[in-house]
Symmetry: C2
Subunit: 282 residues, 2 copies
């Protein structure tokens, strides 16, 4: 591959595949984890009296935003949600948008619009913040979005086989060019000890009064091997040439067999991963 | 393999390889984690005034017991430590035994000697409790060992590649007979979601007043591939025929390459695992 082509890959901003429909079909364990975390942590919230203003960061197809809304009894003054991806925001608006539920394009790592400062009583972000390189900036923005006494509930991925699978092809002759900048895709907490301790310290630095960070060991058994392939295709940010697309994911699935994520004998697939769960009060 | 031979494997009690010298040479990450956990959690202890009585469960070769002793400034009325393995206790006594540091054979899952009831101000157990099938019984015994206001600090393994590696050979024609009862070897928390939540609930049931359970994502880079092999040999409870011993561990190391625990290119080896850390007050 020429240097110029390789630069194109670098230039591509690393964000999830923007096929929101594919993501909606396949985001099985993110959805399960959202329900589990909301069930466990919402009862610990000190809810504000009266109508709340709620914000969700990284809405993708909007399906998890919709779950959060249901857990809040669909009862709020306003529920805003954002994503960096325009197509996702369009999709989410179409499926879940109402006059009180508004989706917008926004980068949580960027400059916040001034009018959003201190606007929200509760901020949520599920399965998004592992994409952010400047973690402190994102946590600072979340803090700034929140009203006094506001509370947030965030989850993000630490170690997960998704990264190990793509990473395994990084040093191959066939796929090396495509995966050259894979580190921009991998969670900053995939390959470290004690991510919860690192994050706790960042959140305290940003100024949160109450900080509870947990690292949760998770297991997810896929319905079948195709479901595993679907989620890998949905989250892959790699711009594979159409002619090579099937070969690329065939090779990924072969690595999954090697790594015993797929059980060759029973034709089943299981993910073991670690999810960071954060509950903070301003 | 005949049913009779297979019964012999069943009959063998599942405990760590009892070569304490080999374990001493190779228990690299258990030793590192002991130091890290003691450094983080001992400052949170409400230490009893005056001389303390201390107990350590699962001393193995005694090297971690010795680390705990150093963190307690080697200042106590008595420091007792136990292991289920007679050879380990003999080895530890020889290396670390003094008139105030006493090693004894004892099963933390069994009936406690009456005179030990409420005897200890502080109980430690590092990298041991994952061997115990009846978790509640072990936690109850730890509670019973402790004096009023006593505190304990425990670590045990949740998910770790050690189990995945041996487990990968379970369904092979060559090693199936040997690994038939491998589930007795695998941590009850290796293959589950939210082990910290399960353990928290057990400890509260047993009666502890203060319970803090953390699941910690850990990474350990081995010095070289041989160091990985050493620790696998040291913890393996499988009774491999001498003639097949090298072949067995060659095959295990091949699985480690498949699973990308060993990097074929750089000839390095890394473990990613989850350690449960428990801090309780009676």
């Amino acid at each position: 591959m020429s240097e110029q082509n390789s630069q194109n890959y670098k230039a591509k901003s690393f964000a999830m595949n923007d096929d929101a429909a594919l993501y909606q079909k396949s985001n099985c364990y993110p959805r399960r984890d959202a329900v589990d975390v909301l069930t466990e942590f919402l009862p610990k919230f000190r809810w504000k009296e009266g109508k709340k203003r709620i914000f969700d960061i990284g809405c993708a197809d909007g399906s998890v935003t919709n779950i959060i809304s249901a857990f809040c009894n669909n009862d709020y003054e306003v529920f805003e949600a954002c994503d960096i991806n325009e197509r996702a925001v369009k999709y989410a608006t179409e499926y879940y948008g109402t006059d009180k539920m508004i989706f917008r394009v926004m980068d949580i790592e960027g400059q916040l619009p001034k009018e959003m400062n201190g606007k929200f009583d509760n901020v949520f972000s599920f399965y998004t913040l592992q994409w952010i390189k400047n973690q402190e900036k994102a946590f600072q923005n979340i803090y700034d979005l929140m009203a006094k006494d506001g509370e947030c509930l965030l989850t993000l991925l630490a170690r997960i086989p998704v990264y190990s699978l793509f990473n395994a092809l990084k040093d191959t002759d066939t796929w090396g060019y495509l995966l050259k900048y894979i580190n921009q895709f991998i969670s900053p907490y995939h390959d470290v000890s004690d991510p919860d301790v690192i994050i706790q310290s960042l959140l305290e630095k940003v100024g949160f009064q109450y900080v509870d960070v947990r690292c949760r060991q998770k297991k997810y058994e896929f319905k079948d091997i195709q479901q595993l392939r679907n989620i890998l295709e949905a989250v892959s940010p790699f711009n594979v040439d159409k002619k090579l697309y099937e070969q690329f994911f065939d090779d990924i699935m072969e690595v999954a067999e090697d790594m015993r994520i797929i059980d060759r004998r029973t034709k089943t697939a299981t993910f073991h991963y670690n999810l960071i769960v954060i509950h903070c009060r301003k």
